[in-house]
Subunit: 334 residues, 2 copies
C-alpha cells in the first residue's frame, strides 16, 4: 500500500472534513470567514485528519461524524499556530501564496488565529467527551511550549540535538500523536491500542518535522510553497545545522556562527552552509535520524491485529520520510 | 454594602486564585512563567474571579476548589487577550508598566498569550464539567469575534451605537456573563437563576466597558495605568466619540474625522475633541447609558432570594459605574 491508497481509503471522510472546516469558520463577523477560507484553500496535506480518521477506523469506528468534527479541531489548532507563526516569523509566503499577515496585517492574523483556537474548543465541547478534551488541550499546551522553546533557541548555536528533539516533540509531534490517540478514543480502543497509536503518532510526528527541516535546506521555493532556507534566515537552529556544527572544524564553525547571527545577506551564507552540509553528509545523517523515528513508530503498532487500516498507517509512515525526500531530490545528485 | 465589602466577602478565595494563577503558569519552558508572572503582578481588579466566586456562593457552593480553578481559567483567557491586544495595538504601557510586547517582543506576547489560552482549556478539562466548557468556549469565541469587529471598525466614523454595543457585548460582556454563569453552574443553581446571573453579568459587562471607554477620554495616565486618549490614537471608535459625531455640526464633524483618520499629532486633536465632548455633554450621556445597563443588570437578579451575596452583586454593579467614575473625577469639574 502507498500513501495515495491511504488517502483513498478515507477519501469520503477527508472530503467531509473539508466541508466541515468551511462550515465551521463561518461567522457573522466578515473578516473571519474571509481569512479562514484563504488559509483553507492553501490546502496542506491534512496529515492530522488522515491519521485521525485512519486510527478511528482501525479501532472499529465506521458510522458517525465524530472523527470528522475532531479532525476540524486539530486542523483549526494547526492553522491557528501557522497564522501565529507567520506573525512571529514575519513570514511573507506560506503554501505558495502571500501569507495572511502580509495580506491582512499582523493584527488580523493574531485574532483569526485566536478565533480558530477558540472555535476548536467549542467543537470539542460539542463532541462531549472529556478524554478528547484532555488529549487535545494537553497537545495544544505542549505545542505552544514548543513554539516558545523554538523562540528562545533562536540563533543559539549551542542548541543540542537533545534540546532540538525536545522542542520538536512538543511543537509538532504532540498534536500528531494526539490526533492518533483521538481516533483511538473515538473508536473505544483498549488502553494499550490507544497508547500504541499515540506513540506511533509521536514518532511519525518527529520524523515529519525532521524532514520538514531538511527540506527547508535542500528544496526549492516552488516545491516547498514557502521560501527555502527560511530557517537559516530566521535563525531557527534545526537538526541539519546542529549536525553541521557538531562536525565542522573551528574555522568553519566561526563562519557558520557569523551567518546564523546575522539576518541580512543570508543568501551567500546559505550557499556556503549547503557546501559544508555536503562535505559532512548532513543530509544523509538527518534522513537516517528520521528513518529511525519511522522504524520506532512502526514498531509501536506492529503488534496490532492486521487490517487494511494498519497497512495504511505503515504506508503513511513511509510517506513521511521516503516519499517526501524522494519527490524533492528527484533528478538531484543524492 | 460597598465594593470593598464585596471583595472582603471572598478575600480568602481571591487569595487562593492568586496562588493558583502562579501555580498554573509554571512551565519548564523558562520564558513562560517569567512573562506570566510579570502580567500577573500587574494586578488588575480580578473582577471576573470576584463575580464568579460571589455567584458560586450565592448558589450555595461553599466548600471546594472548583470556583478557584475556573477563576484561573477566565483570568487566563482575559490575560491572553490583553497580551494579544497589546500586539494588535502596538501598546507600550499596560497597567502602569511597560507592556510585555515592548519588554519581550511581539513574538513572545503572541506565544505566551497562546500558552495561557491553551492552559485555560487544560484547566477546564481537569474540572470535568461540559457545561462549564460550553459556556467558557462560547464566551472565548465571542470575545475574539468582538476583537475582530473592533479591528474592522477601526477609524470608521460611521460606526453606529448599535454596532458599538454589539462589539462590546462580545468583546467584554461575554466573558463576564460567562463568569457569573460558571459560578451558578458550579453552585448547581436552577436554570432560571443561572440565566439571571448570566444576564446580570452581560449588563454589568456592558457598563464596565462603557466606563473603560469613557475613562480613556477623561482620565489621566497615572490613574489609568496606561496612556490616556489611547482609543483616539488607535482609532477605536467608542461611545463617547460616536455620541459626539451624532451631535456635532458638519464643520466639527469634519475636524473630528481628520483627527480620527490620522495616527500622528493626535494630542492637539485630543484637546479639541475633549472641548467638543464638554460642549455636547458626551460624558454625562455615556455615564447615563452605563447606568442604564447597571439598572437592567440589577433588575435581572432582583427576584433572587435575599442574601449577603446578592447584596454583594448589587455593590459590584454600583462600583462598575459610580465608584470608577467618582474616583476619576474627584476634584474635577463634573
Amino acid at each position: 500500500m502507498v500513501f495515495e491508497d491511504s488517502v483513498g481509503l478515507v477519501k469520503e471522510e477527508l472530503d467531509a472534513v473539508e466541508a466541515a472546516l468551511r462550515k465551521n469558520f463561518m461567522s457573522d463577523v466578515v473578516m473571519i470567514p474571509e481569512i479562514s477560507r484563504y488559509l483553507s484553500e492553501g490546502g496542506g496535506k491534512r496529515i492530522r485528519p488522515l491519521l485521525l480518521l485512519t486510527a478511528s477506523k482501525l479501532c472499529g469506528y465506521h458510522n458517525g461524524d465524530r472523527p470528522i468534527n475532531i479532525s476540524c479541531v486539530v486542523e483549526f489548532i494547526h492553522s491557528a499556530t501557522l497564522l501565529h507563526d507567520d506573525v512571529v516569523d514575519e513570514a511573507h509566503i506560506r503554501r505558495g501564496k502571500a501569507s495572511s499577515n502580509v495580506k491582512w496585517g499582523n493584527e488580523a492574523s493574531v485574532l483569526v488565529g485566536d478565533y480558530l483556537f477558540s472555535k476548536s474548543f467549542q467543537l470539542v465541547a460539542q463532541d462531549n467527551d472529556f478524554r478528547i478534551l484532555a488529549t487535545i488541550s494537553e497537545a495544544s499546551r505542549r505545542l505552544i511550549e514548543g513554539e516558545v522553546l523554538q523562540l528562545t533557541q533562536r540563533r543559539s548555536i549551542f542548541t543540542t540535538e537533545k534540546e532540538y528533539f525536545d522542542m520538536v516533540r512538543r511543537k509538532t509531534a504532540a498534536l500528531i500523536a494526539s490526533s492518533c490517540q483521538a481516533g483511538a478514543i473515538i473508536g473505544k480502543a483498549p488502553e494499550e491500542t490507544e497508547s500504541a497509536l499515540f506513540r506511533y503518532g509521536d514518532q511519525i510526528g518527529m520524523a515529519f518535522q525532521l524532514i520538514d527541516d531538511l527540506l527547508d535546506y535542500i528544496s526549492e521555493e516552488e516545491k516547498l510553497g514557502k521560501p527555502a532556507r527560511n530557517d537559516l534566515r530566521e535563525g531557527h537552529i534545526t537538526l541539519p545545522l546542529i549536525r553541521l556544527l557538531a562536525r565542522a572544524g573551528e574555522k568553519e564553525k566561526k563562519m557558520i556562527k557569523g551567518i546564523v547571527s546575522s539576518d541580512e545577506g543570508i543568501m551567500d551564507g546559505a550557499a556556503k552552509v549547503l557546501d559544508l552540509m555536503e562535505k559532512y553528509a548532513v543530509v544523509e545523517y538527518t534522513i537516517e535520524k528520521a528513518r529511525e523515528f519511522v522504524r520506532e513508530g512502526k514498531k509501536e503498532i506492529a503488534g496490532l491485529p492486521p487490517s487494511i487500516y494498519l497497512d495504511s498507517l505503515f504506508a503513511i509512515a513511509d510517506y513521511v520520510v521516503e516519499k517526501r525526500v524522494e519527490s524533492c531530490l528527484k533528478g538531484a545528485s543524492l
